[in-house]
Symmetry: D3
Subunit: 333 residues, 6 copies
């Protein structure tokens, strides 16, 4: 693991370390002199860095999204640490452990992927099984599926987050299909496995989580409808109606036009899957909100994704017990 992390930078330290370049620009100081300003980061946060002299040569070879090795001194500016650079260079690949730069699911991605394949192999419908296995066994898809986050900020926003979300949905789908026997579990599983496939390319997450230009122009729904369509076209004899059904479930899974679904769910499984996806995303968003502290004992941080904060139930109920304890003690005395 790299040292130091941004969150550990202490004033007046002189440090040597590796960081990702989030932004890089040449600015003019108020006296008209140019200086180099970069925003450097790792998975623990970001820090501003400046270099005032003789940065021309070094700056030339470095671009946004490069990893750099820097030497500098930590100063405090407006109460926040800032790096005064002495020197820096592009890092060599072997010097970098990507895990230092992006937050990561706490589950084992290889295990999860195997679980996912298990769900796929257990499907009864031969066309759907063939379809999802064809896609999931593609080496490049698998490579990206094991890394992709489920979103930039809303939920499961970390490496492996998409896979965690999808595996969770497969389990949930099986529970629901037991409860509502009218639902076709294979369609639900197909939906779970493919509904965010477009995110593999909508997002970029090699070094930081962001959107690709294609992702911004098309969105994962349109991207995956084409990818899945192509995969289906490559399967001889795949029923045309079933293709339409699968594509409908993909494009309607956001449930509302305003969330980018060009069609509302008009198939029972499409409606049910929309609920499952929404529920799992929201449960993850609550989890993330509760994991953050905003200074109120009984409340989570405000969740932008949900537009509210959440009660820390145990804390709130415990207060009472504490009080009750005190009172019963008082009563005894």
């Amino acid at each position: 693991m790299k040292t130091p992390f941004v969150k550990d930078l202490a004033a007046e330290q002189v440090i040597t370390g590796f960081f990702l370049v989030h932004e890089k620009e040449i600015r003019n100081a108020n006296n008209g002199k140019p200086y180099l300003r970069m925003e450097l980061g790792d998975r623990s946060g970001t820090v501003e860095a400046r270099m005032w002299d003789q940065f021309d040569g070094m700056a030339k070879g470095v671009s946004r999204d490069d990893f750099v090795k820097v030497q500098g001194r930590v100063e405090i500016y407006r109460n926040r640490p800032q790096l005064l650079l002495m020197q820096f260079r592009v890092a060599r690949p072997e010097e970098i452990d990507l895990g230092d730069f992006l937050p990561h699911t706490k589950f084992d991605v290889e295990l999860m992927y195997r679980e996912l394949l298990g769900h796929a192999e257990g499907m009864q419908n031969p066309w759907l099984r063939q379809l999802v296995l064809k896609i999931l066994c593609d080496a490049e898809v698998a490579r990206r599926y094991k890394r992709a986050p489920a979103a930039k900020v809303m939920h499961h926003a970390y490496i492996g987050g998409l896979l965690e979300h999808v595996v969770g949905l497969c389990g949930l789908a099986k529970h629901i299909a037991v409860h509502y026997p009218e639902l076709d579990v294979d369609l639900l599983l197909t939906a779970a496995m493919l509904h965010d496939l477009g995110k593999l390319d909508e997002l970029c997450y090699e070094r930081a989580i962001g959107y690709t230009v294609e992702g911004q122009l098309l969105g994962h729904i349109v991207m995956e409808v084409e990818t899945v369509g192509q995969a289906i076209e490559g399967i001889v004899g795949f029923p045309q109606q079933l293709k339409t059904v699968v594509q409908h479930i993909l494009i309607s899974h956001h449930g509302e036009y305003e969330f980018g679904s060009p069609k509302l769910p008009m198939i029972r499984e499409a409606l049910a899957f929309h609920y499952l996806d929404d529920l799992d995303s929201k449960m993850a968003a609550v989890r993330a909100a509760l994991a953050m502290d905003a200074g109120e004992e009984e409340w989570s941080a405000f969740s932008g994704a949900l537009g509210r904060k959440f009660l820390r139930l145990e804390k709130y109920l415990a207060e009472e017990e504490k009080k009750a304890g005190t009172e019963s003690k008082a009563a005894k005395e």
Copy 2:
């Protein structure tokens, strides 16, 4: 079972039978002469009835929501049957089987209620268990709970529908609590059992499904928040914070202000329960839509509750198979 049902009335028949009075009024004919007009119904539909002469004495004793025994002749007016009354009187209670007048769940309400009590008795949290058992074991609550529909038109709109919905939610809650171990299953079960308790009094469903005046002025959410509050106040030592939590889950279960929830779910279980309740209602609404035929082979009737129609998946996929069958046969020939 009564005969004839409204749906079986045939032109020119003279019939004797029992009906519920939905509307009753004296109108003036175009020639200024008063006549009696009633809307009569049973669980199969409604029919207009008129009486032109000497109805004064008979009409006096009959009001809306009375059951009547009528004798009349079926005429066709504007292509629909109409009853020309010869005589009628209020029916005696022992002449009426309520089941003839309202649609009914196809499940056994006594069995379902026992299942519900089983869920209640299995709860771990002593306060919540005591609360729900106190309410569910109240004889008047039990009597009404076994009859109440879940809604007038949206979903489970039949006698016993509420109980069917609630028992379904209990099962769903247990599935979900297995999948998301962070959820407190007892809170979910309490929510399932009490979230529509106010509907016992918001709706009237002795003879037809409608809203009481109190129901229209207060709504089931406000009604049950008070009822449950009173039940809690009667339990010595019930923790005050837990009362607030339960009431919050009740008032937020519609999930949005515009659906009449004065607060958004701000507790994890409240959010999850809102999804379960919504999902189960929608699945029932889809079921109801698919059960109706609107003349399009591949599509259900339009669902007012969902604002769309639904694909009959099997029909649609079967077409292909048929076609495929034909084609492969053609190919062989």
Copy 3:
């Protein structure tokens, strides 16, 4: 041209003619006897038809969307003509002129298609020219493009309407590109030609205008994004970025999420094209509203597409002139 048209049916006539079956069902009369009810139509309107006896054999061979030859008598029922069928059979293809059954653009579709190809051939960008020509020169596309309406009811809702709309947009695009030189006219033309390509399959318009099941489940935007994607994949060397740009313009052309665009226009040409498409659709909707009379001299019929009625400008201004004329005449006298 066929005789008689529905709008010409007169009471007590006995007629022989050809109609399209819009609906067909067996119903029970009030006396319990089954009868056959069909809705028959041609481009002038629809009429209800009934047959009371011995229809079994004839009815068996006839389905919705068949053309039938019928013999019957026109009766007036509830002030509207109704056909009392004596006999009917499925029509032979050579007996039918489709033009009798669907409204049609008043322009020559062959001429318009040639004009469209002319616009395509004049494009400067070799990739875009190759793309649109590849699609437009496909025989099946051309055949359907010359028939498809632009919508079921909103605008250009007649055979050839889509082509009329698209050719109009090409002309409009060229005008606009002269006015705003920053716009790439080839992208605008490509957008015009391909933005409703999915409607060729979203709608069915062989005998009446409706939606296909695929059209309802996917919508023309998703359908064409895949079709165009496939066409591009078949062109060796087509730049990947340009593909994304074309697809973005297609999916964003409705301009708002609530109108089914999964992305808002984020390219200058996409935004401009959205305005052109909207303007041309609205101008056609106004034209259609003004063509209908709703009994108010100065106002058009209410346009459902636009949510309002439109002033008949000439009528309104002429009133004044009339009045002015009268007054000046009065003044002279």
Copy 4:
């Protein structure tokens, strides 16, 4: 009155004074060393306070919402005063005058409460009079009613503000009932007195204005519907229908679902009262906006509650007079 107030802190002063602890936390400086940071306040504003050394013992005994006596030096940091603490301790109750810490109505709360009781005693309807007097004469209710603000920020956001709002509404109700004789003035008065009763517990305002956890989870409407329901249950013979009417007026007084009313006003008095409440709140919000200066001579500060700024009418009209004066003088010369 305490000295100094936050708004009077001047650079380089060494002061001793009393403040309320709004926030308290231990943070790590950039050099890793922990320091104490508190936000201290009184009714004139808030100030940041820091202590760098040996704060452990003192900090332990102090929590948010405590009053503290501090000794410190005022420094200017980023152009704002900051307190560098030398020492502090929890204040003794007798050292604190709560009026120093919260803004206060300029009216006499005892007088206003007597006026309120006068309105109550003058009511004709014996049930409603008994109900409101029972509630208003409860010692704990009276104590809180004389302190509660009407809101945290929107209007009447100061100690005694709720009472001021309610007494104003009683007067307004009487005016309106004279103008619209169809309105039942006793229902309007009851609405005025009870519609915000839940705010006594929804808000906390002992030391600063905020929301209680119960208030956030339930809201004042739900809280008061239960409280008032309990009070009614305690009055023997109180008509059940009248209870429903009163509760309906309470729950519908926000007038719209989106403002947290689970029912729309469906009783004439409920609708009228909603308008009165809204009008009085808005008039107070305008008053507050006009009391603040945002640097534009003719305009008030922007009112968040109203989403706009307001014209200073006199200023604007006076300009003209000034100008007119100048001009008429000029004309004379």
Copy 5:
């Protein structure tokens, strides 16, 4: 008073009477023969009239909005009366009493107008007093002001309704200005008197209530802002700023953009007046809803203007008393 009124037409009667022509058209019967169809009405309702033979000469001289004298026989068609015309001619002015054709305020318009002028003369601000008197004393304005309804359907939809609404608002304004001394009562009175002035020309109400073409194209707000502007320009020395203030109050009185106000109220009096106008309109709409019976004892008819029905409070509360009475009687026995 005319006889018979539409509501009194009885089957098989032969009648002679006066009616207003709402619609007139020549239609083709199903047998192709033309016939005359008119919709005739008076203040009690409308009736369809037909003439099958020799109507050419008579029909030529008659247009929509003419009064006609007709002779005909009342037939019942689809359960509603219909007039079979024998002959008719345009009525002579002296034969017509307009009061028979339009509903009318129950107050004396001359008295109300004098009250209005009294309010105007009592104003302190000389400019505003001069302005409103100039307008209200204009003979043509006065003539129309005494007739105009306040709306076509929403509230005060009858002859003299506007005046009733405005006089009511003047009284309300004075009440409010006593309660909120910060409000300038003269501005409120000016607003009351002029805020619907444009309705004198937006609506037509000589024979039936409708919209003029100008009214539909411009609306009363724009119409009155110009009229009032012109009146002000004709007053020498009227302060320019005060003109802007008056016009602002006029254009903002609907309170929201979506209700056609191009500006939100940004002056205290404009905001207050918006509330008064809204309250008075809604109170009138409730009154109208309660005056209509929709067959539910405790509820008014559904009010389209308010989107709900209203409780008949006295009926609802009386039930209880009745019940209570019965019970107490029972108790005694």
Copy 6:
């Protein structure tokens, strides 16, 4: 041209120059001492200025919107330049070139105005031609029309911007009228010339772009409807209906109530013009967004007016070519 511009101020410089006073106030320092704070600006930006001693005499004569000549030293405060004033006085008119203080269209306003008059003179409708020429030839209108911006921030937000927008719309109108021959080009030209006439007085733009009080209270739509109405009233014989048509087009040109149009377009030309105006505004807003750099190579700055950012099409397509170039080079090697 003035020196220095705000954007060129460098630390530690002592400068003498001319600036516009945006804000001026006396504040109390933290030590209680009053100081002068002004915001000074020119077309390149704004800078904060302070004066700590002996500013009383100088400050008295200076107000917001004055031009001042100042002498001061540039200091850096919180990383931004700040002016420490030594002395200042009001500038003499002859010392100021207004072009230094406001951004300006890059086109020649005199040429554009002549082009506008050319469009006006070419109109066929004598009444409309007379109307627009009467207005455009008014010297004061012409003077302001040559300066006014089209908006404060949304589009064409610079001196001469309104004229640029209007001349553009005239050209666009002529293009469209060729394409849609049903449109009356003279009405479109009249709309173009007069639709923002009210902005001449709604905005103030002598020294900086802002809103006048009248502009905020009435808005340009209401202002111009009155101005144009007055101009029409001055033309003897101008048809009343045509006046209504012109005013309708003016008030409906925003197209939606929520954008301040009190009526929706109900005339064909009104609808078409709304689209042209909207299109031209949006094209200008895109142009402005693309002219700003927000640090992402392929994307424009975020446009507040459009709620999104825009793709830099050439950059994005060029990447591919670059890549393609590299690849083909690689392929050759």
